[in-house]
């Protein structure tokens, strides 16, 4: 059986329709809903979004591969984005990344073997006042150093 949206998500999509002049504009909102519902945007989810909005699958695929916050593989229980851009780099982002990756035994873009934490490198997250910073699920955490990064990973692994 092919992938389906839950009734809740279908309702949310219906509520969005009158807010835009055409269905194609629901692309990002629907992809976000798909990611919330399924955890990531699989090929099956791309097909579902294309069918739901009546847009070509190629357009959906193009969007999914363009935007960095859309996951094409299932991420871990927690998602950590480590900022690497100027202000964070100046304050030690490289050392933080090395520590996080060593601790989890991963490279940026991978998920720890226990499935708990995915780590991504990110460009400027908009939190340079607490550089070097990480976006941990929904919250900015910083300023980090290798020691604090260790504690953060321990906490996320529970």
């Amino acid at each position: 059986m092919s992938l389906q949206f839950s009734p809740t998500v279908l309702q949310e999509i219906e509520a969005l329709k009158p807010q835009y002049p055409d269905l194609r504009a629901l692309m990002l909102p629907t992809l976000h809903l798909a990611q919330r519902e399924f955890g990531y945007v699989s090929e099956a989810a791309e097909i579902l979004v294309a069918e739901t909005l009546g847009v070509p699958l190629s357009d959906v695929h193009e969007a999914v591969t363009f935007y960095t916050l859309l996951h094409r593989q299932p991420p871990g229980e927690h998602v950590v984005y480590l900022c690497r851009t100027l202000s964070c780099w100046m304050r030690g982002a490289d050392q933080v990344r090395e520590q996080v990756c060593r601790r989890l035994g991963v490279r940026p873009g991978e998920t720890s073997a226990d499935g708990k934490v995915s780590v991504f490198e990110s460009e400027c997250l908009g939190a340079c006042e607490i550089a070097p910073v990480a976006l941990v699920d929904s919250d900015f955490v910083g300023p980090l150093d290798p020691g604090k990064a260790d504690q953060l990973i321990e906490k996320l692994r529970g």
């Binding site: 969005l16 807010q19 835009y20 002049p21 055409d22 194609r24 504009a25 629901l26 692309m27 990002l28 909102p29 992809l31 976000h32 847009v55 357009d59 193009e62 969007a63 363009f66 935007y67 960095t68 916050l69 859309l70 984005y81 690497r84 851009t85 100027l86 202000s87 780099w89 100046m90 304050r91 030690g92 990110s122 460009e123 400027c124 997250l125 908009g126 939190a127 340079c128 006042e129 607490i130 550089a131 976006l135 699920d137 929904s138 919250d139």
Partner: protein, 425 residues
């Protein structure tokens, strides 16, 4: 000094500043009511024009003039799009405005929509701003329940519906035409101007795209008068702005100051002075308006922080993001970081930017690996020159300008890499 009394940041320390009750207690939404009851839409635009408010997202264009570009005779719907896709490296001011003053933004949007005659607004917010998004949603619910959003306002037939549209991670979508393409459901490819969005923007309809901070000043301008705001600034610019200061300073953060402040005052009197990652207290260079801005040396910081003075100094005010680099920072490494950023974020639509940023990134990476070659840095500047002006959107220029200014002002640091490479060979 009454001149530098904070405006938008006055209640940042109050944990309730984001609530409708708090906003009402300090006169919130009165400017909107007054505007709708006593002013015609054109008069609102004239007031904003007279205040000399300029776009605080990066371009610094007159806000009132932009609103005036909406064609009067186009029967299509009009849109207001709030650019909350804050992504210029070093910039974090709009995040704080959305966290602390979401109702100021909504009131600014309501006033702007009345001025330009639009009934539907979108707030395009970057996907990483999860908590600011929650605050915005909460404020929008409050404003809707209070009949301010989605209902006729103060006995007029003007109403505004607001939709929050969440981005998904792409620096380029902060560029207004790319933002509109993204809003329409595409990947974030910028469009050629003209037509400018005011004539043909979102969904091929007249559209005004304004930055969060710009709109937040609007209610205050309506309430206290265009003259008051204009008088806070100088001849060609009004008011204050939020400077986001980061990098090698002792007290990074958001500072709301008149645009007449100098870069030296901002760094030393407000941001606590210089403090490098390894303890240096000596300034080497400053980026005064986001990473796209040409760099200034420590000897060039007695410049006033308004758009025109910074342009005259060969750089730009941009998004108001100030990044200080102490003598702990290697300029070549810093340029590599910035160039890698633009390479990563180039959307790939225009060949000079797509290929040029890649070449510059690779050349600098090779330099840092110890492989600098004779003529490399002249080549670097030549690539940058061939990007500038040859792309649809300003990202190409934003990638090229740092290269030209870093190499131009700190050539000896680059040449030292060449000498080391030749010595090793």
């Amino acid at each position: 000094m009454p001149k530098s009394q904070p405006i938008l940041t006055a209640y940042f320390d109050d944990p309730e500043s984001h609530t409708l009750a708090h906003y009402r207690r300090r006169g919130g939404y009165q400017a909107l009511e007054q505007a709708i009851r006593t002013l015609k839409p054109d008069q609102v635009t004239e007031t904003v024009k007279a205040s000399k408010l300029r776009g605080l997202g990066g371009a610094g264009f007159s806000t009132g003039m932009k609103w005036g570009f909406i064609p009067k005779d186009n029967p299509k719907p009009r849109y207001l799009v709030v650019n909350a896709d804050e992504g210029e490296p070093g910039t974090f001011k709009d995040k704080w405005l959305m966290l602390k003053e979401p109702h100021t933004l909504i009131e600014g949007m309501l006033i702007a929509s009345y001025a330009i005659g639009c009934r539907r607004a979108y707030i395009y917010i970057r996907g990483e701003y999860v908590r600011p998004l929650e605050r915005l949603k909460g404020a929008l619910e409050e404003a809707t329940a209070a009949g301010l959003v989605g209902a006729p306002l103060f006995g007029s037939d003007h109403r505004l519906d607001v939709t929050i549209h969440v981005g998904a991670g792409a620096y380029i979508c902060g560029e207004e035409t790319a933002l509109l393409t993204s809003l329409e459901g595409g990947k974030g490819f910028p469009k050629l101007k003209p037509p400018f969005p005011a004539v043909e923007g979102a969904f091929k309809c007249p559209t005004i795209v304004n930055n969060v901070e710009t709109l937040c000043y609007v209610p205050h301008i309506l309430q206290r008068g265009a003259e008051w705001f204009a008088a806070l600034g100088g001849e060609r610019f009004g008011g204050m702005r939020l400077f986001a200061v980061s990098g090698d300073v002792a007290a990074p953060g958001v500072y709301e100051l008149p645009l007449t402040v100098t870069l030296r005052e901002l760094l030393y009197q407000h941001a606590g002075g210089i403090r490098g990652g390894r303890g240096s207290t000596e300034l080497k260079a400053v980026i005064p308006g986001g990473s796209s801005a040409p760099i200034l040396t420590a000897a060039e910081i007695d410049v006033q922080m308004d758009f025109d003075s910074l342009a005259k100094a060969g750089t730009m005010g941009g998004s108001g993001a100030v990044i200080a680099l102490s003598t702990d920072v290697d300029i070549v490494e810093a340029l590599y970081n910035v160039t890698r950023f633009y390479h990563h974020e180039s959307c790939g639509q225009c060949t000079p930017c797509r290929e040029g940023t890649g070449w510059m990134d690779k050349l600098l990476a090779r330099t840092l690996r110890g492989g600098a070659r004779e003529g490399d840095f002249d080549n670097l500047v030549r690539i940058a020159r061939n990007i500038i002006g040859n792309t649809i959107c300003p990202l190409g220029d934003a990638a090229a300008l740092p290269v030209m200014s870093y190499v131009g002002k700190f050539r000896s640091e680059f040449d030292a890499y060449l000498q080391r490479a030749q010595g090793a060979a």
